[in-house]
Amino acid sequence: MRIALFITCFNDTMFPGTGRAVVTVLERLGHTVDFPQEQTCCGQMHFNTGYRPDAVPLVARFARTFADYDAIVTPSASCAGMVKENHPLLAEEYGHEQLRRDVAGLVPRVHEFTEFLTDVLKVTDVGAHFPHRVSYHPTCHSLRGLRLGDRPQQLLRAVRGIDLVDLPAADSCCGFGGTFAVKNADTSSAMLADKTAGVLATGAEVLCAADNSCLMHIGGGLSRQGSAVRTMHLAEILASTEGDQL
């Protein structure tokens, strides 16, 4: 199976450690992965802010870059959702016949990281060791967009040494929402305050999720409050082993 990584522009720039963790886990499971350098961005910011035509070249670039792979794996539920739901829509609205066909052919091969592990590779125990108290925040895109269900928790429960604790009001939005956090900063902050209060109530040392954007938002709030709780992408927990703690 030819596996390509779609690391996303945001992870690439801000959270390269997540990409490295994905590589670690997949290689540990015996797979060879590729990172096509022509990749950039899924166009989510443009799409969600109303700049649809500006997202179209990015859709075309994505389709071009990943055309030849059997599986395209990404550690971002929201970017996977963007590709799966909205690339077909943009191709339909603005694209030519060929783009529409390319996108339609590609979409079934695009996988969010946890879903790729559980559903395609059929593993839940990836050999990780992480002796810490951890809480998981299901981001809106993993919960209601991609319907990941408890796949992430299945993976986390199989981690040795982990103490997994439930997050109160886990399914309520953290208030990030891309440009929402800037355009409606006050409402976003009010939502964030409830989310960080929930995180602190768990007594967890680490909060993890399948989307670094939401984690940056929640982690930024925790940090501003002087909390020592760390935010980590779930892939980084799965990449940790006894000898190699992240």
Partner: protein, 480 residues
């Protein structure tokens, strides 16, 4: 400003209005308690039906079919209502609807009407229009009465006074009820039962003497000409049966093809709205009946932007809304800001998509952005209206209307250029890493001035690391 109601004149944009609401701790506590309770109840009673998802699918299908053949079903409705002894009027906008209703009331010679809670009459500002003609409209729904007595605005579709708690309501009753109708008892407490009783007594005189009633409609069946109102208190039923003249104002999208379609909606509506298996009162009427109920019935069919909405293939699903308010109760934004921030009769997620479509996106440009696109509303909606999809669609319309020459538009264009080139993206990453690290202290970026200050007011941002993933890959994997 168009002649379409819906938006309150002079309303600030959503972020500005929200900022004010967010400072009101009492409001936030009231909202959190109210929406939290109803949210849990809804989940419980929805889970009781093993065909809940099938019901949603059926409701969506019926609403889609209705929208596709709306002209046909409306004409059929007019024929059925006329045959049953009612009179049908067509109103293209708020002003026309108000004129029709005012003239109908004037023709009776009455100066007072009792009202059944109705979104459509809120939308067109009927009470204000009647007042201008010297006619007083008395709201009889408990929550609407609270809003009216307080000279306030509704903030929720189903519970217009959700922003007020019981103590605030008791104080309002004590202060205001004496101005007309029976005053509130001296020793009135804030027990819900006592409050409801005080309202009932206050209104009783009006129920018994009013000759004209004005209502909305939850549904109307094209085949039988049956109009329906669903309610909890029974005050609506008093208005629908006691007066001599009944005037119903109904959005044209409320029509259903057949009587049997009600089966689906009467299961979905109470469960989705109040979290009850069945609502206490469902009143149906078909035209007029000699010696029973009103002797005159007028049905005003209101367009007010609906046919424009129908013309948009993505936006038209909004017309399927049955005003259950489930989307409001699960919305994390509504829960924090309350309904007034939306500046419209229709608040919450449905308001954020319906209002801009009814009045034109330029008139309500901030509303499609008043959401994180978290999707909770879509999951809750009993007719499966994909609100996030419509929100994103309307955002594009707002941007189009602004012609792209805004600061944001130029920034998006620039970002698009960078993101369409791995080389430019790599360069931008290096610049961001350098710039970010220069700004950062202890690896974190604190408060920033300018448009990003809203973000940095409450959050730290990590400085971008020196090495991007693509650089790491090139060094560690490419060379192998």
């Amino acid at each position: 400003m168009s002649s379409r109601g819906v938006v309150w004149l002079g309303s600030p944009s959503f972020p500005d209005a929200a900022r004010v609401a967010l400072k009101d701790d009492q409001l936030r506590a009231n909202l959190k308690r109210a929406t939290g309770t109803i949210r849990d109840k809804r989940l419980t009673v929805a889970a009781e039906l093993d065909d809940w998802e099938e019901l949603r699918t059926a409701a969506e299908a019926i609403k889609n079919r209705t929208a596709r053949h709306l002209d046909h079903y409306l004409v059929q409705l007019e024929e059925s209502v006329t045959a049953a002894g009612g009179t049908v009027h067509w109103a293209s906008d708020a002003a026309e609807a108000n004129r029709i209703v005012t003239e109908l009331v004037q023709a009776t010679g009455e100066r007072e009407v009792v009202k059944v809670k109705s979104m459509a009459t809120q939308e067109i500002g009927l009470n204000e229009a009647l007042a201008e003609a010297g006619i007083t409209a008395y709201e009889t729904d408990l929550a609407e009465l609270i809003v009216q007595l307080g000279d306030d605005r509704p903030s929720h579709i189903l519970v217009p006074a959700i922003h007020k708690n019981r103590t605030e309501i008791r104080d309002l009753f004590r202060a205001e009820m004496g101005h007309w109708g029976q005053p509130a008892p001296e020793d009135l407490t804030d027990e819900p039962r006592e409050l409801a009783e005080a309202a009932r007594r206050h209104l009783r005189q009006k129920f018994l003497t009013a000759k004209v009633a004005v209502s909305g409609a939850n549904f109307a069946c094209a085949d039988t000409g049956t109009v329906l109102v669903v309610e909890s208190e029974g005050n609506g039923r008093m208005c629908l049966t006691l007066p001599e003249t009944l005037i119903t104002v109904m959005g044209i999208e409320k029509v259903l093809p057949t009587w049997s379609d009600l089966e689906v909606f009467l299961q979905l509506l109470p469960r989705s709205s109040t979290g009850e298996r069945m609502n206490p009162y469902t009143s149906t009427w078909s035209g007029t009946t000699e010696g029973d109920g009103p002797s005159e019935f007028h049905l005003v069919l209101l367009d007010n932007g609906r046919t424009d909405t129908l013309a948009d293939p993505v936006g038209r699903q909004t017309l399927g809304c049955i005003r259950c308010s489930a989307c409001l109760n699960v919305c994390p934004v509504f829960e924090r800001t309350g309904g007034h921030a939306y500046g419209s009769v229709y608040p919450g997620p449905i308001g954020a998509v319906l209002t801009p479509q009814l009045v034109g996106v330029e008139q309500a440009a901030s509303l499609p952005f008043a959401s994180t696109l978290c999707g909770a509303c879509y999951d809750a909606c009993p007719v499966k209206i994909n609100i996030p999809e419509v929100l994103a669609h309307l955002r594009a319309k707002v941007v189009e209307a602004k012609d792209g020459h805004t600061v944001e538009g130029l920034a998006m264009k620039a970002a698009g250029k960078v993101l369409d080139s791995p080389r430019l993206l790599g360069a931008a990453q290096k610049a961001a890493a350098l710039g970010g690290r220069a700004l950062a202290r202890n690896g974190k970026i604190g408060r920033l001035p300018g448009p990003l200050h809203g973000w940095t007011d409450t959050r730290d941002t990590p400085a971008p690391p020196a090495e991007s993933f693509r650089t790491w890959w090139r060094k560690n994997r490419e060379s192998e």
